[in-house]
């Protein structure tokens, strides 16, 4: 209350007891098994302690026991909404360590797959975000489009969700003959659907009230926490690994990086982070179309080494995943299985700002902020 009124001073003078509320592992809107311990005063939050580790599947221990090609299916299961992105990151890191140059066609197919995966992951993010705020129908419209992308993936590598498609040095299968035609069809159908979800949710007055000016993340705090991806771009800085630290053939396409401008509130609020993802899907469509036009011919399995025995050394490389930049740090001791693999998961890093962002807001806003930073628990707990 900007000015203290007599009634109010009397009411806030009576100290209300603090209540500890568990938004526990099983909660409709914690995007998986994450426990948020909220210290509440009435409805206002004074402290948020995230407890993670409910899905810790010992990825790094498995990497030390498996050989290099066997690790690829495990990287899928980390960020299970963008498995192509994880495999792409692992392949880029290994090729840097081994010094392999993959044929042009492999690079183009990898970019197409990564961008299609970005669209499908953002669709899930927008859908669940709408459902968290209360509008349930956009969730199903987003899943309807995502099913089309999954059928494209299923046509190329036979799996709907976890693909083991991008190997070190190449791909497991070449493209299906009418993959190119079907992808163009999908993109032509997808653009009006995206506009439909936009009208239903993005510019809806109640949605704007619920998300604008909620969970404001200033740029310097974001950089200090190491936040990356749409969460960082929502705060107004044009930072994208595909442009800053270009890998594969991204330098061949022209696309721009959407940035949060604070259209309905201050820059860096939940609405900006949400709207950056909607615009990014548009950019990914552009990239896929350009990649399909310039798709060269060639054998996709020519550069796959028979036995991977990298020299003793280490490599750190990163890739722009839908949730931020995913880094792989691989140390090899010359044998066929790595000595140590450490994954820098973007959700693990952006989860730390929850406490800073949620202080002073209400219980309903915790759900909004958690939905806007779009985390996946498989990646946080690895």
């Amino acid at each position: 209350m900007s000015q203290e009124s007599s009634l109010n001073t009397k009411s806030s003078a009576i100290r209300t007891e603090e209540m500890v509320l568990n938004m526990g592992p099983q909660h409709p809107s914690t995007h998986g098994v994450l426990r948020l311990e909220l210290a509440l005063e009435g409805e206002i939050i004074t402290n948020v302690i995230p407890h993670i580790g409910y899905l810790h599947r010992c990825f790094e221990k498995h990497c030390e026991a498996m050989t290099y090609p066997q690790i690829v299916p495990y990287t899928d299961r980390m960020d299970y909404l963008a498995p192509m992105g994880n495999e792409f990151g692992y392949a880029i890191a290994m090729e840097k360590l081994l010094g392999i140059q993959v044929p042009e066609r492999v690079d183009y197919i990898r970019v197409i797959m990564a961008e299609l995966q970005r669209i499908s992951s953002h669709l899930v993010a927008l859908g669940t975000y709408g459902a968290d705020i209360g509008a349930f129908t956009p969730f199903l419209y987003c899943f309807r489009d995502r099913e089309k992308i999954l059928s494209l993936f299923e046509m190329t590598c036979g799996a709907r969700l976890l693909y083991n498609y991008i190997w070190v040095g190449g791909l497991s299968h070449d493209l299906h003959p009418d993959f190119v035609r079907k992808t163009r069809e999908f993109i032509k159908e997808f653009r009006p659907n995206l506009k439909e979800v936009n009208d239903l949710l993005s510019h809806n007055r109640i949605f704007i009230d619920r998300t604008a000016n909620v969970g404001i993340l200033p740029v310097d705090t974001a950089i200090n926490y190491g936040v990356s991806g749409p969460n960082l771009r929502g705060s107004g800085i044009k930072w994208d690994v595909r442009k800053e630290d270009p890998y594969s053939v991204y330098h061949k396409f022209d696309y721009d990086i959407p940035v949060g401008e604070g259209k309905y509130g201050t820059v860096g609020d939940s609405w900006d982070r949400y709207y950056v993802r909607v615009l990014e899907m548009e950019e990914s469509c552009k990239i896929v179309e350009q990649a399909l036009d310039q798709l060269p011919e060639g054998d996709v399995q020519s550069a796959i080494p028979k036995r991977i025995k990298p020299p003793i050394g280490h490599v750190y490389s990163r890739v722009e995943n839908p949730r931020g930049d995913l880094g792989y740090f691989i140390i090899s001791d010359g044998s066929t299985s790595p000595y140590r693999v450490k994954v820098r998961a973007p959700s693990f890093v952006s989860m730390q700002i929850m406490n800073e962002l949620c202080k002073g807001y209400m219980v309903a806003d915790v759900v909004t902020i958690l939905g806007s930073i779009d985390i996946v628990l498989g990646e946080i707990d690895r």
Binding site: H56, T221, N224, G226, I237, Y316, G327, R344, Q352
Partner: protein, 162 residues
């Protein structure tokens, strides 16, 4: 845009007494080795000095070098403003692993350090809240990612091995 050697010279100029050396023998990027108890002063300087401006900690990972009986920590730093990167390495004795924390410098290091403590047992001095992050809080069977780790037989009545 500075290379690793120039960064080493700047650091040596500002920290004459601490032993810093650059190892470039292994493939891909060179590593700058520093001493574990000075890492927080070093990183405060790395972030605040005008030529370096390392304002973002990309990755902090613990490694168990059992052959050399060491537990080492790798820091991958990056400067978003000057677009250059550096890798720091710090190693401590395996039985009494102590490294001073860098959470004062980069807030993002908080959970990375808690994970290194949880999976390797590296103790970060004056870390705001050093407890296990991924494993259950009452996990008393040691630190899982160490090379010489054995599974406990039972945990709260559930059989752990297959």
């Amino acid at each position: 845009m500075k290379q690793a050697e120039e960064i080493l010279q700047i650091l040596k100029a500002n920290f004459p007494d601490s032993n810093l050396e650059l190892k470039t023998d292994q493939p891909t990027e060179p590593i700058l080795v520093a001493s574990p108890l000075e890492i927080d002063k070093l990183s405060m300087f790395l972030r605040d000095s005008s030529e370096l401006l390392f304002d973002s900690l990309m990755n902090l990972s613990g490694v168990d070098e059992i052959k050399a009986n060491l537990l080492s920590v790798y820091y991958h730093l990056e400067s978003t403003k000057l677009k250059h990167k550096i890798t720091l390495k710090v190693s401590t004795d395996r039985n009494k692993p102590e490294v001073s924390t860098v959470t004062e410098v980069w807030k993002g290091a908080d959970w990375h350090e808690r994970e290194a403590y949880d999976l390797f047992g590296i103790i970060f001095l004056n870390h705001p809240d050093l407890r296990r992050i991924l494993m259950p809080y009452d996990w008393d069977a040691g630190y899982p990612l160490r090379k010489d780790y054995e599974n406990p037989e039972f945990y709260q009545g559930m059989k752990v091995p297959y």
